[in-house]
Symmetry: C4
Subunit: 260 residues, 4 copies
């Protein structure tokens, strides 16, 4: 334990002198408040059962739009500030220091690349969403809390993009295909897999994810009644979404709950 | 802290002498017990998942029937006594002291104006109720605990009242339209939005809200069976509702749970 | 408070000398262990959501089969040993000492009168059971944990017994009608109301109530699939029910949970 | 600690020479870590509502493949290390010391005998699985987290194996019939009873059990929508299952939760 092989020592020394400064100096420090919010988002999404041990939430770097913050590969419920990695738009961690990245980090990198308006992304496997991902029944906005999907939720079918795979978005090509499916929408379903939700901020993406799940359960129950039903009109939804902090009141409650 | 700027001092003095008597003297102090019950109602409705971060509960002022008490704009689960505002029937807070009111306070003001028999109101987005708000399947009283809806639950469609809106009851005109839909009933559904429940007291409106939610879930499950079913007859319901404290036993339990 | 009217005093004295000994001496003290089990049963049924603030559980007196033990009128979750009343088969409390009885205690008295094999009874409003109480879809034993209903679950319709009522079993006549509906079965549904479950002991009636609820949810989900399904055969159920302590392992767990 | 009493020494020696070789010497001590994992598995499956007071989880002995470890007959939520028994493939406990075995331990012994690739087994009554056990609707892999059932889930009907029974797998003959139904699959449903799940390790069998339950709920909801749906292709599933630690991240979370 106390002995270090000569070769290892030299490699480490060179890293510290050369690679270290090159890597670390490029890492613009994200504000502590933003990292605290990202940690809280992990805990809130676990508390609200949008995420279980799987899935992840990220935020775009506030001063470097070609970077984003994402926890190392671990259960969201256990994430702490020291677990947050900074990644570039090729999904490479800037300063990993031995911390492993999520396999599906390309979901985030390619959506940030394609969508300048997006600052926060959730990828989840919420059970309420799979029925709409797997079937020909479109997910609709059943009430105003889910107004952000009134213009439709596309379904990404990885099989159409890449044939037989292990269903995971494990490279940039698959990430680009998912981002293309998403287009300019706020959420996309992933067949036999889950969903991705995007927004302008951490509170908004958490709020949208929670209410996407609730709204899906409402639609399942509505359709089980067997009657005719209507959903929110896109024109109504547009008026409803003028508030840039659409889920501020919920965020206030959730953050309080996970930090006490 | 101990120094007061001259101008501030004079303004305060003028307020106390002139504006103060006009505003504060008109605020009949609501009994502490009633405010404690309203705080408990907020917490109970959150505990029972009738309210989440959204929705609100109010009570008519006991000595000034043209006033009602309602929390400032915040998550019900976090409401404390100091957060309770007094509002008039134009939905103006009497003595806001910087506290923001709920945008949809007109739901309360206009129902209190229209219904002299109503002393407490809940507005909620309970997911179990949206299927009946959005579809042509009427909500029915499946068991005696929901006898209060045996005479039917109207659906308020804001689009019929005001065309394309953001779906929110954000002014007196929309509040009046909702109150007109409610008529003399105990609850009304709001299409693509939620519901409103009214009663003679805080315990009753809380009990009705909890059992409206439970009853809706029962009806959804009953209809998923695909058989024929019946609901409580209005004549049976009328006999069932002779107790003025219809949910006293539940209130006893709930209040104990949120105050320990 | 310190003054007692002469007439009251004399009445009380006579009661203490004459009626008192007649009443109290007739109250065979129920074993403390049985009362502790009845208190635990109240708490377990609340924990498992079979009972909410409403409903009750009773046990026949072990040495006086014409008596039974039942909490005073209160939420089951809050019941303590001092809240347990002893009642006779006319549903009169033997020694109430100011404690109010449940209005529907006749459910218990008349079933104990009619069924010598029954030593414990639960009356509940579990939401999963109402769909079968209100519709023409019979409740069936979906798996071995609910074998006790393989011979069928009758539905008691108070309207057929007594016309338009407030739906409550508020006298002996209605109690007898319910007991007649139950016949020799282990459970009966009550239209627009709830259910009653009977067994040979407190652990058995608690176990049966919990699994009646679970089994109903299983049947609802099974029928929502839309396929053909089968249920436990009465001959299989008979073999399954030879153990007199059918829910002993569950009781061990539940009692531990409510007493720690 | 360093002193051994003469008598103890001799007894131990005799045990080792005579009785020991027959009984105890055959009991290869299972590593403490494996027993700790088995205790955690019991608690996790209770926490995740796969097991209630009933059901069990076992692991094959790491150094003696003709043995397996299983708790004594008790609720999984209460299992401690001292409750873990070692059994042989005839389902006889090696050193019971008064501890009673589960009646249905033959489920485990006969599957370990038939399936050399299986190192861990769960038997459960999860309510979400009974609808597929009782009906003609096949359980399908709705998303990648349940890829292990993409090649189908057989249904074991004890009635076809043994006619009218009490539905319990109470001997080796019934255990063999169940193992034959399971074949080379990862899970089998048991009509009117529950399910059995197998895997290469404790974390894998716990993960598979949790997601088998979740996946069944997803399928029930999907089918209630009434549309056309697809499930994971066996070729996709095969690629998805190349990771030998398929549920490592979930195990990390769950174990943390039950051990804090």
């Amino acid at each position: 334990m106390h002995m270090i092989e000569r070769r290892t020592f030299l490699t480490t020394l060179v890293s510290a002198v050369l690679a270290g400064p090159m890597a670390r100096a490029q890492q613009a420090p994200a504000p502590d408040d933003l990292i605290a919010d990202l940690v809280a988002a992990n805990h809130i999404l676990a508390m609200e059962n949008v995420l279980d041990a799987m899935g992840h939430v990220s935020v775009r770097h506030p001063s470097r739009p070609d970077r984003f913050l994402l926890a190392r590969s671990m259960p969201p419920e256990l994430v702490m500030a020291a677990d947050i990695l900074e990644l570039d738009l090729d999904a490479n961690p800037v300063d990993a220091r031995g911390r492993t990245s999520y396999l599906e980090r390309f979901i985030h990198s390619e959506i940030y690349r394609a969508r300048r308006d997006v600052n926060a992304i959730v990828h989840c496997h919420a059970p309420s969403l799979i029925p709409f991902a797997d079937s020909d029944v479109p997910l609709r906005a059943m009430y105003h809390m889910a107004a952000f999907i009134a213009d439709g939720v596309p379904v990404f079918d990885i099989r159409q993009a890449a044939g037989i795979t292990d269903l995971l978005v494990r490279d940039a090509k698959l990430g680009k295909a998912l981002a293309a499916s998403l287009g300019n929408k706020s959420a996309a379903l992933m067949r036999h897999h889950g969903a991705v939700v995007v927004a302008t901020s951490i509170p908004n993406v958490v709020g949208r994810s929670v209410y996407l799940d609730l709204n899906a359960r409402v639609q399942i129950q509505t359709m089980s009644l067997g009657g005719k039903f209507t959903s929110v009109d896109p024109a109504e939804a547009k008026l409803r979404m003028t508030d840039p902090n659409e889920y501020a009141r919920a965020w206030e409650l959730w953050k309080r709950k996970v930090t006490r």
